[in-house]
């Protein structure tokens, strides 16, 4: 009678098969949901076990333990002195007219080509300013003698931890850079050398290996210190004794220290993540309620374990040769980026540092390359003082004890060297390159060319 239903006649057997056929996916789904539940439960257990293990290793897991860890890693003896210095310099430039004329501490440019015989129109203003803040500069010189790194009061709040003191510390380095520049211009070698030594002290005082920002600020201090040494080479003030004093501060770092530093930085980042996971302010940080909901549901145990696994991978990157660090960082970053998506719940958290891994690893390499260029330029000057002429090439520096490993970049490329008139030039790799092992520029950088002069560490040695 009904053509449509004839094809699916309702017999008890068919009906029974159909019934079980319909029921089967529901049973399967229940099984999957149960297994998912078990998976979450297991993940929760694993997460707890991991946390217990981290805690047992005396490593930070939240704001309170982060504060303790930071306290253990630093010294409080200099807290008061550094607090005074930071406070004094925080607004030291504010009462000044024309800060746009002031190099380093204001927005003014330093002299492009350091030259003691060249006019420096802003010298009068710089000199007056430095005379006024002289006692504070003296306080810096005294503070760097105190035990380092220095502890300062920080309110740890996960990823929202205010690191104002760390940012303020950059003002200390800038003032010292100005002090050294002025001393060099005035040919006051002892004052300049003291400033250079204090620059290193500032980098060590603020060597907070507690998070990416902390280490990047330290690195900025260290790179400024090395750059100041290289600028000083143009003034031709240094004798062999001064060169040896500076050179003694530039010994190569133990690779183990670099690994440890990386590990500590990401242990700190992990602690910030763990405290942020339960932090209302972080969910509130999202502008809308649905964003906040997404942050909250990102607290699923599997997500938390996934995040810990990613941090574990981050911690392991530093294992291996230094030269391969950017490669490994790049590889991991690419992998994490490809794996992540708008709906990968861990992405919301890893985005806090994901784009920075490669850049961070490159900053480590850059510091090391800067150190080698700086050390080589000191050796070139030392050679000239001894031999009375510039070395023909960098291989000639064997004679004054500079190892060959210090005359190449981390990527194994020989540093650039050229004698031009009364000056010798040493330069390093192209820092604007995104290559893992950037080439050394074929021609020396032109300090007068604003577009390229910062693309490579260079020293003009007189």
């Amino acid at each position: 009678m009904n053509t449509k239903t004839d094809s699916v006649r309702s017999t008890p057997t068919r009906r029974r098969w159909l019934f079980w056929g319909v029921l089967l996916p529901i049973i399967l789904l229940f099984a999957v949901i149960t297994s998912q539940g078990i998976r979450q439960w297991q993940a929760a257990n694993r997460f707890e076990a991991e946390i217990a293990q981290i805690r047992a290793s005396n490593l930070p897991i939240d704001n309170a333990s982060m504060a303790r860890w930071f306290r253990e890693m630093t010294r409080t003896e200099g807290a008061s002195a550094w607090g005074e210095v930071l406070l004094a310099l925080e607004t030291a430039i504010a009462p000044i007219d024309n800060p746009e004329r002031m190099p380093f501490v204001g927005t003014g440019d330093p002299i492009a080509v350091p030259d003691p015989d060249r006019q420096w129109p802003e010298e009068k203003q710089v000199g007056e300013y430095l005379r006024w803040i002289g006692p504070t500069i003296e306080k810096i010189h005294q503070a760097v003698e105190l035990p380092k790194p220095v502890w300062l009061p920080i309110e740890f709040r996960g990823f929202q931890t205010p690191l104002a003191e760390l940012q303020s510390s950059r003002s200390v380095t800038r003032h010292l850079q100005l002090e050294v520049e002025h001393a060099l211009y005035q040919k006051e070698s002892e004052r300049a050398l003291r400033g250079i030594t204090s620059l290193r002290g500032v980098a060590e005082a603020f060597d907070w290996q507690i998070c990416l920002v902390g280490d990047l600020v330290h690195r900025a201090h260290a790179i400024a210190y090395l750059a100041t040494i290289r600028r000083s080479m143009a003034y031709g003030l240094w004798g062999e004794a001064e060169i040896d004093r500076i050179d003694s501060q530039l010994a190569p770092r133990d690779p183990f220290q670099i690994t440890e530093r990386w590990r500590r930085v990401f242990i700190g980042e992990r602690a910030m993540l763990l405290s942020s996971l339960n932090d209302a302010a972080m969910t509130d940080y999202n502008a809308d309620e649905f964003g906040a909901a997404a942050m909250k549901v990102a607290g699923l145990p599997t997500v938390k374990v996934g995040l810990l696994e990613k941090y574990f991978l981050m911690l392991r990157i530093a294992d291996g040769p230094l030269a391969g660090l950017p490669d490994r960082a790049n590889e991991l970053e690419l992998w994490l980026t490809q794996k992540g998506s708008a709906f990968d719940l861990t992405t919301r958290w890893t985005s806090m540092w994901l784009p920075a891994i490669r850049a961070y690893s490159q900053s480590i390499i850059r510091e090391e390359d800067d150190r080698r260029v700086t050390r080589t330029s000191l050796a070139v000057k030392k050679y000239q003082l001894r031999e009375g002429n510039w070395p023909q090439d960098l291989a000639a520096l064997d004679g004054i004890g500079l190892p060959a490993s210090e005359r190449v970049t981390v990527g194994g490329k020989p540093l650039g060297y050229q004698v031009d008139g009364d000056a010798a030039w040493v330069w390093g790799p192209d820092t604007s390159s995104r290559a893992a092992r950037p080439e050394v520029l074929p021609e020396r950088p032109d300090p007068a060319d604003e577009s390229t002069r910062d693309h490579s560490p260079w020293a003009m040695v007189r």
Partner: protein, 808 residues
């Protein structure tokens, strides 16, 4: 009945038929508005206004999709096509009347949508008019006309309304596909600045409209014409078109059995096409989820919500058509069997979808962690939709409403999870309530007892949906609160005149160069001017501050922090000038002259801060006074400052009573201000108390929890203030730190506490005067106050007015 009156009655019938759909969306918009306006909450109003904008833009689209099904399929469900055919009106005219009424409705919807968009803009205070952007310029309105006509054409050709709506979805893409095809085949060159896609798309839409119109009229005329040949002929015609009779087994003479397998088989036979269509839709969704994840996932979410929601409605929909369920009810089939066997097949398809999705996500290696959340989302949408389908008698209206209601339910669960932080098991129980509700009410639904008691029973179940709020209510009851006597004291002290206006009456000090100086006209030094002596520049800056302080007697705000920092910087540079051998004698003299001026201005600033009715300014005043103590501690301070300034600073520091009163007044006023803000804004918490941001103490519990916590935090401070130095103990400090979401060290606890709290000025590290540096009450009753008092005792009577004390 003449032709004209027949047409008129026909129009009236159509109007009544479309009325529920026409009322539904404006009603939802009105509910949205009412919630927003009653709450008086600006962020919520903006959120709701955004929702209304979305609703307004989609409303005509949903109407256009459903109107065909409602107008035509409803006739089929009610078996009134025969009556229509019997009217002395040509079938084509009947069809045109239906189309005309639907088109009028569409125009009305667009007028309403435009009005809603305009109101939403107005309410959310967004002055820019982007109405045309929101409705997709002209393409979207034109597309809704196509949707409407296509919906009619399909509704005439299909048996059920659901099937017609399902078919509209793929058909809706035809103009878009066509225009993309044309664009990919021809490289159009336009001389005017319009994207070539727009004219091509609109041309394709117009072409599609013409075809859809023709089909709608042709199919309609045929369908009505077929009815006129008689019921049997009509039935035969339906069968020939592949449309089965309502109860297949009845037509066969088979008797339904109460055994579950028979009921499942009957359900599948009854909804075969719908289930197949929805199954395909969800299979597509499962396949595109991993691909779409790389984008925003909008398409995946949309198809999933629609597919799952319509599966939910299919649970009770088939049996609601023409009251088929009576067949089972009359034969005494147990409601439990009916409910479970109706659920089984859609639940099975949903299960298959979720399993497929899990496989797709796992294989593609993306977002497997998303699966539990998607499962929850699907469960919420399915549960809500099947509830809507049982509640609303019209299957077509329920099909149109269910996705919207289900999306709102999903939003509700997400928000309640964020705002009220219920335990997961309570969320799980609440999510199951719609299923429990339909199960409990199946008997009444089968018996078609759908009166008020049925409605009230549903409302009762809906009321249970507030369960996620329950833990917060319990927490709120058990949470420590501000004691009643504290409230009374605070209310008695809070000066009514300042309520709600404290922040507007504060003055911000500005200096060019310190904080931009935009608010204060100052003569800026051009960069090509020769640099002045530093001391000259300082004298100008100090004069600017003095002028601002003299110009008004209102309190200054904490946002003057940058200026205060500049004053401090100048004072400290001038102070160290005294022992700075690098400076000339003239420069040292300038420093010696400038230093006391800077100190005097800071002390004046401290007094002005004390006058503020906000807590944060009191704490900033504490920081300045601590700094002043350090200055007075220095050897030769009196000589350096001069006896007048020295005396006035000592007077300021020694005024413990004045400090206490100012703090009490500020706490009371801050609390009162907070109370006013909470009354004004019922749904969310004010973001500050006494100038302090509150996001640290909102968790958990949304606005209500935060409100009581805010009160508690202020109450603790108040009790501490009343307790004074004797009432200062580590337990209280720890409690206050917790209440304000700050580390205990802020209040001097722990080994680093002495660096934060000025109990020992030799160990204390002054944080400076930046506006973000003060912490609530962090320096109250610390040892610096004793030293300040001791310094005050040596005060030998200075001229307070010269130190900036305003005249009474």
């Amino acid at each position: 009945m003449n032709d004209r009156s027949a047409i008129g009655r026909l129009c009236w019938k159509e109007f009544r038929q479309l009325l529920p759909l026409g009322l539904l969306f404006p009603l939802l918009a009105v509910i949205f508005f009412a919630v927003a306006m009653v709450s008086g909450n600006t962020p919520l109003v903006t959120l709701v206004a955004g929702g209304i904008s979305f609703l307004a833009a989609t409303m005509p689209g949903l109407y256009a999709t459903g109107v065909g099904a409602l107008s035509v399929s409803y006739e089929k469900e009610q078996r009134t096509l025969g009556w229509l055919a019997s009217l002395p009106i040509k079938p084509i005219r009947i069809v045109r009347v239906k189309l005309l009424m639907a088109f009028s409705g569409l125009i009305l919807f667009w007028a309403l949508a435009t009005a809603l968009l305009a109101i939403a803009r107005l309410v959310s205070r967004q002055q820019t008019s982007v109405i045309f952007e929101e409705i997709g310029s002209f393409a979207w309105p034109v597309h809704t006309l196509f949707l409407m006509l296509a919906g009619f054409a399909l509704a005439w050709s299909t048996r059920s309304g659901m099937a017609a709506i399902l078919w509209v979805l793929p058909v809706a893409t035809i103009p878009v596909i066509l225009s993309n095809l044309i664009l990919s085949l021809f490289r159009w060159r336009f001389d005017f600045e319009i994207a070539p896609a727009a004219p091509v798309l609109i041309s394709c839409q117009i072409l599609s409209i013409a075809v859809a119109w023709w089909l709608a009229e042709r199919n309609g005329s045929r369908a009505i014409g077929a009815q006129s040949t008689g019921t049997h002929a009509g039935l035969r015609s339906m069968r020939e078109e592949g449309l089965s009779v309502p109860w297949a087994w009845q037509a066969e003479g088979a008797v339904p059995r109460s055994e579950p397998s028979a009921l499942v088989w009957q359900f599948i036979a009854q909804n075969r096409m719908v289930l197949l269509g929805l199954g395909l839709m969800l299979a597509t969704a499962a396949l595109i989820w991993p691909l779409d994840l790389w984008g925003r996932g909008v398409l995946s979410i949309m198809i999933t919500v629609l597919g799952v929601s319509w599966l939910g409605t299919s649970v009770f929909q088939g049996d609601s058509i023409a009251q088929r369920i009576r067949f089972l009810a009359d034969r005494g089939i147990a409601p439990g069997w009916v409910w479970s066997t109706r659920q089984l097949t859609p639940a099975s398809i949903v299960s298959l979808f979720l399993l497929g999705l899990l496989i797709a996500l796992t294989v593609s290696g993306t977002a497997a962690d998303l699966f539990p959340l998607l499962t929850l989302l699907v469960l919420i949408i399915y549960g809500t939709s099947q509830w809507v389908a049982q509640l609303l008698p019209s299957p077509i209206i329920s099909s149109i409403c269910a996705p919207l209601v289900a999306a709102m339910a999903a939003a509700y669960f997400a928000l309640s999870y964020v705002w009220f932080a219920p335990p997961w098991w309570l969320m799980a129980v609440t999510i199951l309530i719609p299923l429990v509700a339909t199960r409990a009410l199946t008997r009444r639904w089968m018996d078609r007892r759908l009166g008020w008691d049925y409605l009230f029973a549903n409302v009762g179940f809906a009321a249970l949906m507030i369960l996620p709020i329950a833990p917060q209510v319990v927490r709120s009851i058990n949470e420590p609160r501000m004691p009643a006597e504290v409230k009374r004291e605070l209310s008695a002290i809070a000066p009514p005149v300042v309520l709600g206006s404290t922040s507007t009456r504060l003055k911000e000090l500005v200096i060019a160069g310190a904080n931009g100086g935009t608010a204060y006209e100052v003569e800026t030094v051009q960069s090509n001017d020769p640099p002045r002596m530093m001391a000259d520049a300082w004298a100008d800056k100090l004069a600017q501050v003095q002028e601002q302080l003299n110009s008004t007697q209102v309190p200054i705000s904490v946002s003057s922090g940058a200026v205060l920092e500049t004053l401090r910087g100048i004072a400290e540079l001038c102070l160290i000038a005294d022992s700075n051998p690098a400076l000339t004698a003239a420069e040292r003299d300038e420093g010696a002259k400038t230093y006391p001026v800077a100190v005097r201005l800071l002390s004046q600033a401290a007094r002005r801060l004390r006058m503020s009715h906000r807590l944060i300014e009191q704490d900033m005043a504490d920081l300045i006074e601590i700094w002043l103590i350090n200055e007075l501690r220095r050897a030769g301070a009196r000589e350096r400052l001069g006896s007048e300034i020295d005396s006035n600073v000592r007077a300021l520091l020694g005024d413990r009573e004045g400090r206490q009163k100012a703090r009490e007044r500020a706490v009371a006023a801050s609390w009162a201000d907070y109370q006013m803000a909470t009354k004004k804004d019922r749904w969310t918490n004010p973001d500050q108390i006494g100038g302090y941001q509150l996001f640290d103490i909102i968790e958990p519990g949304g606005a209500w929890g935060a409100r009581s916590r805010g009160e508690f935090a202020v109450g603790e401070l108040w009790q501490w203030l009343r307790g004074g130095k004797q009432g200062t103990n580590p337990q209280r400090l720890e409690r206050i730190a917790r209440a304000w979401g700050l580390p205990p060290s802020t209040y001097g606890l722990g080994d680093t506490g002495p660096i934060w709290r000025a109990d020992d000025l030799n160990r204390y590290v002054h944080p400076g005067f930046r506006s973000y540096k003060p912490r609530p009450g962090a320096q109250w009753f610390a040892a610096w106050e004793d030293e300040a008092e001791a310094m005050g005792r040596s005060f030998e009577g200075g001229n307070q007015e010269s130190a900036g004390v305003p005249k009474e």
